[in-house]
């Protein structure tokens, strides 16, 4: 199946530094329609009817979130575009920001009208700091043409923290606190930034908004699956010939995506980043949607020469470094899992390690404060499910090494 470029329709077709090129391709027409011919509740209704769900990984119903924010009475309301994209293997938002910042700004302006926000932030990860001036200029051009009348947009740069891509940690970061997660409820649409109604949407989610307003919810609805409407932008990397950004209809199979990216020798893939599911090659025909496996759409491919243990070890190394450290299960659990993977890697493991990993992972999955700890269990439990023999192999090698060296732990 070929790509279906809707979100990416203007990327590499317009000059991302010149708003005129975007306007020439019907840019901001959707916004004009929303501003002059729709009431806030109409905009919300259209987005709800479209079935648009979040594209950052959580997949929550966008229109529903907006409706709650619209209906919550408060002095100030805020809109945040989550451009933190810290997920391992994710670079789709970077591509969008580089090639069509105006589409994002238009989506934000429509969202602002829908919920009644007076101030918006683009939370930009510091690793994309080279895009700060570029975004600033794009916002300035939009402002010059009067598109930011009721809601101004500020680019707020992060400082290097994956957890700050999580919505509650993100808000703490903007407020000047450590990027620790917050307990929920309350949820941001009722109590967010400084306790005010706040909508936090991923870059790609907001990019869909002008298209839905211009072409209608029914048009959007026709694409995708039961619960995942529209298209999805994937970022594919790893053992593939053509790593890059691809946009496909929701429900397209993993194999279709891998064919586009040029993957010929596939042992497995990880979908959704460091906390994403690990799938063996036998599941290549799985349709990709929130009902199955999706996350943020980061797909890392590994071939038959790769060791699953090394891959999960790499994941856990990342997660333990990025854990905010507030809650016990995640702070201690990631470190405990890391220690075990270290021993698996050095052939110093033992059979009890598997139960230990399972116990810690299952506890983290149900007791952690936020999604990082809850989902850290996923690669561990998935790899134990589909590639258990690799773990057993390492442990048996460890047992052999110990007996071979006369009962001493291998230092190699």
């Amino acid at each position: 199946m070929a790509e279906k470029r809707i979100v990416l329709s203007n990327c590499e077709e317009i000059d991302p530094d010149n708003i005129e090129t975007y306007l020439a391709r019907d840019g901001f027409k959707a916004f004009e329609r929303a501003r002059h011919r729709m009431k806030p509740k109409d905009i919300v209704a259209e987005i709800k009817k479209s079935g648009l769900i979040g594209r950052g990984g959580a997949g929550f119903n966008c229109g529903l979130k907006w409706e709650i924010a619209l209906n919550t009475k408060a002095k100030n309301k805020y809109l945040i575009c989550n451009a933190d994209e810290g997920e391992v293997g994710a670079f789709k938002d970077k591509y969008i920001l580089q090639h069509n910042p105006f589409g994002l700004i238009e989506g934000m302006c429509i969202a602002g009208l829908a919920i009644g926000a007076q101030q918006a932030y683009i939370y930009l990860r510091t690793e994309y700091g080279f895009l700060y001036d570029h975004l600033y200029r794009a916002v300035a051009q939009a402002r010059e043409r009067g598109y930011l009348g009721q809601m101004d947009i500020l680019v707020f740069e992060g400082a290097g923290s994956y957890i700050c891509g999580e919505e509650s940690a993100l808000m703490n970061s903007i407020e000047g606190y450590r990027g620790e997660a917050r307990y929920k409820p309350p949820y941001p649409p009722t109590h967010g930034l400084w306790g005010m109604p706040t909508i936090i949407n991923n870059v790609e989610t907001l990019m869909n908004v002008p298209h839905i307003i211009a072409k209608g919810a029914a048009w959007f609805n026709k694409m995708g699956t039961d619960r995942s409407k529209g298209t999805k932008v994937f970022s594919v990397s790893g053992d593939v010939k053509n790593p890059g950004v691809y946009e496909l209809e929701m429900g397209s199979s993993l194999k279709e995506l891998l064919d586009l990216a040029g993957a010929d020798d596939v042992k497995g893939v990880q979908i959704g980043g460091s906390t994403g599911s690990i799938l063996p090659a036998s599941l290549l025909n799985t349709p990709l949607s929130h009902e199955t496996y999706l996350g943020c759409g980061a797909v890392v491919v590994f071939n038959s020469t790769r060791d699953i243990i090394d891959i999960v070890y790499n994941n856990i190394c990342f997660l333990s470094e990025e854990s905010c450290g507030k809650c016990t299960p995640c702070r201690e659990g990631t470190e405990v899992m890391l220690e075990i993977f270290g021993r698996l890697s050095r052939l110093e493991a033992e059979h009890a390690n598997i139960k230990a990993l399972e116990d810690v992972a299952k506890t983290m999955a149900v007791a952690s404060l936020c999604g990082l700890g809850q989902a850290a269990a996923v690669p561990v439990l998935d790899s134990l499910k589909y590639f258990r023999d690799e773990y057993i192999n390492r442990i048996e090698q460890s047992v052999f090494m110990r007996s071979y060296l006369g009962g001493e732990m291998s230092k190699a």
Binding site: E85, G86, E87, V88, G89, A90, F91, K94, R125, T126, E127, Y128, G129, F130, Y132, D133, Y136, R137, L154, F156, E157, G158, A159, G160, S161, Y162, S173, I174, E175, G176, Y177, R178, G179, W194, S235, V236, S237, G238, D239, P243, G244, V245, Q270, S274, A298, V300, F302, R306, D310, I311, N314, N315, C317, F318, E321, E322, C324
Partner: protein, 144 residues
């Protein structure tokens, strides 16, 4: 085009932008800088220190003239990050976490910077180098 400190109402909200401003000036956040920021925001020193040390890109110790950051996450690891780390180590005679004696280079490992389609990738200061091979390291480092 400067990253001006936004005039957001609450003084605490200025904390991160102020810290980043200090970082742009000195390449790290000194105790003097933290004290000045504490003064300006009306926060105690421990709060400023607590926020500063939370983030990966707000170091509190002085950095070398050029900071080499090698991504070690999965896509880069699959595409040969280890080889890049080893060749930098060989070229400069320092391990990750160390700095050269002449203060020219410091070397660290970082987490995903979103350049996965150009893996393995490194940053030297603000410059990205992607699709690297170990044999390119010598020429790249010579240009600094």
């Amino acid at each position: 085009m400067s990253r001006e400190v936004p005039s957001i109402p609450n003084s605490r909200t200025q904390l991160l932008p102020l810290l980043k401003h200090e970082f742009k000036k000195d390449g790290f956040i000194s105790k003097e800088a933290m004290s000045a920021v504490a003064e300006r925001t009306g926060l105690p020193l421990n709060e400023v220190y607590g926020v500063t040390t939370f983030y990966s890109y707000l170091p509190v110790s002085k950095k070398s003239k050029n900071v080499i950051r090698v991504c070690r996450c999965l896509p880069c690891a699959l595409k040969g990050a280890l080889g890049i780390i080893e060749s930098i180590q060989k070229e400069l005679d320092i391990a990750p976490g160390e700095a050269t004696a002449d203060g020219k280079f410091s070397f660290e490992l970082i987490n995903c910077i979103g350049a996965c389609d150009q893996a393995p990738a490194i940053m030297i200061n603000d410059q990205l180098f992607g699709n690297l091979t170990p044999d390119r390291i010598t020429e790249i480092l010579k240009s600094y």
